[in-house]
């Protein structure tokens, strides 16, 4: 299990990413929307873009709206609440890191993200389950599994593997846990 970002009490009412601010994407910024998303995640905040042209939310982050083509986008904190749209369990031998659950989650804002649901047995993650976003701070095991390392070791030099694993390790990871109304 990865460690979750601390969510302050009452945060669910305002939302995981609610900062009270809406940032209008500035094309002159020195980093693009993907880097800004990563940066917010690293700071414990889930943000989503919303198109001011067609009022729809966007994921993954982009420089223009895939629905209407507008570049007039704003970035908002997300409450991080959603519903499991589909789920699978990747079956792996223990030496490959063991079974791992993968889910597609539909956020209330109307966008879908790939993730996984923690805090439940993989078999108990069902379509329709109400879930709440958590942000895993590094170090987490994503991308640097034994299986991946073994794969890579065959194809590449050990130093390259270590380098890639290190780069992957520092990325925060969006995961979900079952949403409990009482905690809200």
């Amino acid at each position: 299990m990865c460690s979750s970002a601390a969510i302050p009490p009452g945060a669910a009412a305002g939302g995981l990413g609610a900062s009270g601010r809406t940032l209008v994407d500035d094309p002159t910024e020195s980093t693009g929307p993907a880097a800004r998303y990563e940066r917010a995640l690293a700071q414990g905040t889930l943000v989503l873009q919303r198109c001011r042209g067609c009022a729809r939310h966007i994921f993954h982050p982009r420089v223009l709206c895939p629905h209407c083509g507008s570049t007039d986008l704003e970035t908002q904190g997300s409450r991080g609440l959603g519903v499991v749209y589909s789920t699978t369990i990747v079956r792996r031998r223990p030496e490959q890191g063991g079974d791992i659950q993968v889910a597609l989650v539909d956020l209330d804002e109307g966008v879908r993200v790939m993730s996984r649901v923690e805090g439940l047995a993989a078999d108990d993650v069902k379509i329709g389950l109400r879930v709440q976003a958590q942000i895993c701070k590094p170090p987490h095991r994503a991308f640097a599994s034994a299986a991946e390392a073994a794969d890579d070791a065959k194809a590449s030099k050990a130093s390259k593997v270590a380098e890639a694993a290190e780069a992957a390790e520092i990325r925060p990871l969006l995961v979900f846990t079952p949403f409990e109304e009482m905690s809200a």
Binding site: H60, Y85, V90, I100, V102, M114, S115, I127, A164
Partner: protein, 389 residues
């Protein structure tokens, strides 16, 4: 434009090589063997080939490597890479090029030794994650492509009550067809229970819900219809073709139960002037059992959600109500990373009446449907004999 393109070109030569296991041969070598067989089958010489379409799972500049190896100086080149559907998608630009006079004979070809090669699938996948990262999916360690299709299967089961037994029926039907095909890689007995009891790869798909990992190469030659009539083989006219793609990653697919085959199929049938009910044979890209259900639904052979019932009780097995994947498919015949070219080859052989024990008495109209990526690209072609023009 499309009306004039309908039937304007025909497949006049097909060839295969290295089917199953091609120990000691490179993928380029078996590709060249298949291409050579296709050119000979067409009754042409290498100097006649002046157009080329190909794609590779691992090499971005593959088309130039093929040009070099075969010694071509083509007037038309297409290296579009849409995954397994590529070779069916290549038909349209090739037809346009033939019609525009850019070239006189197009070779469409593919080869892979992913089963026997030193750099196998696991290594290619690892390298790909570096060269072509999917940063919003890769960290979750899904086992692609299986897990993406598994997510779609879970959803289809939830939404329409599709069962694992119904998915297994697709694998069993493919095996029964393969038993009629001496070229098929897996021909042993297979039951629904065998499929259900096989090793789970990514729930709900077991290893028997997944296509084979084999070697193999396939090639075909496309010429204008007027020239096709002068060549030795019975021409397989391209009556309709369309390609559609709406996403790359499975997490970006709007509805996991509805593919872009709804668009490519509608357009291809419209161009051909035929519908699903007219088809004598149906060749569908069965990378996973679920795919066959999705494509039967999306191409209009049954209503959305009814794919499971459609395939039940041997519906698509030999002797069933619909003739589907007569070579044994990617599930039991051959699947060297990308399978689309083999769908076309099987359809052409059926149209010509060259399929031996699995030959259909009436096989004059075929729909051939290819899929690529993670349900990401969909390419449909309608092929027919001269009487269907």
């Amino acid at each position: 434009m499309k009306a004039s393109l309908r039937g304007s070109a025909a497949i006049v030569g097909v060839g295969q090589a290295g089917m199953g296991e091609a120990h000691g041969y490179t993928e380029m070598e078996i590709l060249a063997q298949a291409a050579n067989a296709a050119v000979a089958d067409a009754g042409l010489q290498w100097r006649d080939i002046d157009g080329i379409c190909t794609a590779s799972v691992s090499s971005p500049m593959w088309v130039m490597s093929v040009i070099e190896y075969l010694g071509l100086k083509p007037g038309f080149i297409d290296g579009t890479m849409l995954g397994g559907s590529s070779f069916i998608a290549h038909l349209m630009p090739a037809m346009l090029a033939l019609e525009a006079g850019l070239c006189q004979a197009v070779l469409i070809c593919y080869g892979s030794t992913q089963r026997s090669a030193v750099m196998g699938r696991a290594q290619i996948n690892a390298a790909r994650r570096r060269l072509d990262p999917q940063p919003f999916e890769d960290p979750y360690q899904l086992f692609n492509p299986v897990s993406s299709y598994a997510l779609a299967a879970t959803r289809h089961m939830h939404q329409y009550g599709t069962t694992r037994e119904q998915l297994a029926e697709v694998a069993v039907a493919a095996r029964r067809w393969a038993q009629l095909n001496p070229e098929a890689f897996m021909r042993g007995p297979l039951s629904v229970d065998d499929v259900l009891a096989a090793r789970m790869v990514s729930d709900p798909l077991t290893v028997r819900d997944c296509c084979l990992v084999t070697d193999g190469a396939g090639a075909l030659v496309l010429v204008r219809a007027d020239r096709a009539r002068t060549l030795p083989q019975k021409p397989a006219y391209v009556l309709g073709q369309a390609t559609a793609s709406w996403h790359r990653q499975i997490s970006a697919m709007p509805d996991l139960c509805v593919t872009a085959a709804t668009e490519s199929g509608r357009k291809a049938f419209e161009m051909a002037g035929y519908g699903p009910a007219d088809m004598d044979q149906v060749q569908l890209y069965d990378a996973f059992t679920l795919n066959v259900l999705l494509f039967l639904e999306d191409l209009g052979f049954c209503a959305k959600g009814e794919g499971g019932d459609f395939v039940s009780g041997g519906g698509i097995a030999p002797g069933g109500h619909t003739v589907v994947n007569t070579n044994g498919g990617g599930l039991s015949c051959v699947h060297p990373g990308m399978y689309g070219i083999f769908l076309l080859i099987e359809a052409v052989r059926q149209l010509r009446g060259q399929c031996g024990a699995r030959q259909q008495a009436q096989a004059n109209l075929a729909v051939v449907h290819g899929n690529g990526g993670t349900l990401s690209s969909q390419a449909t072609a309608v092929l027919g004999v001269a009487d269907t023009l």
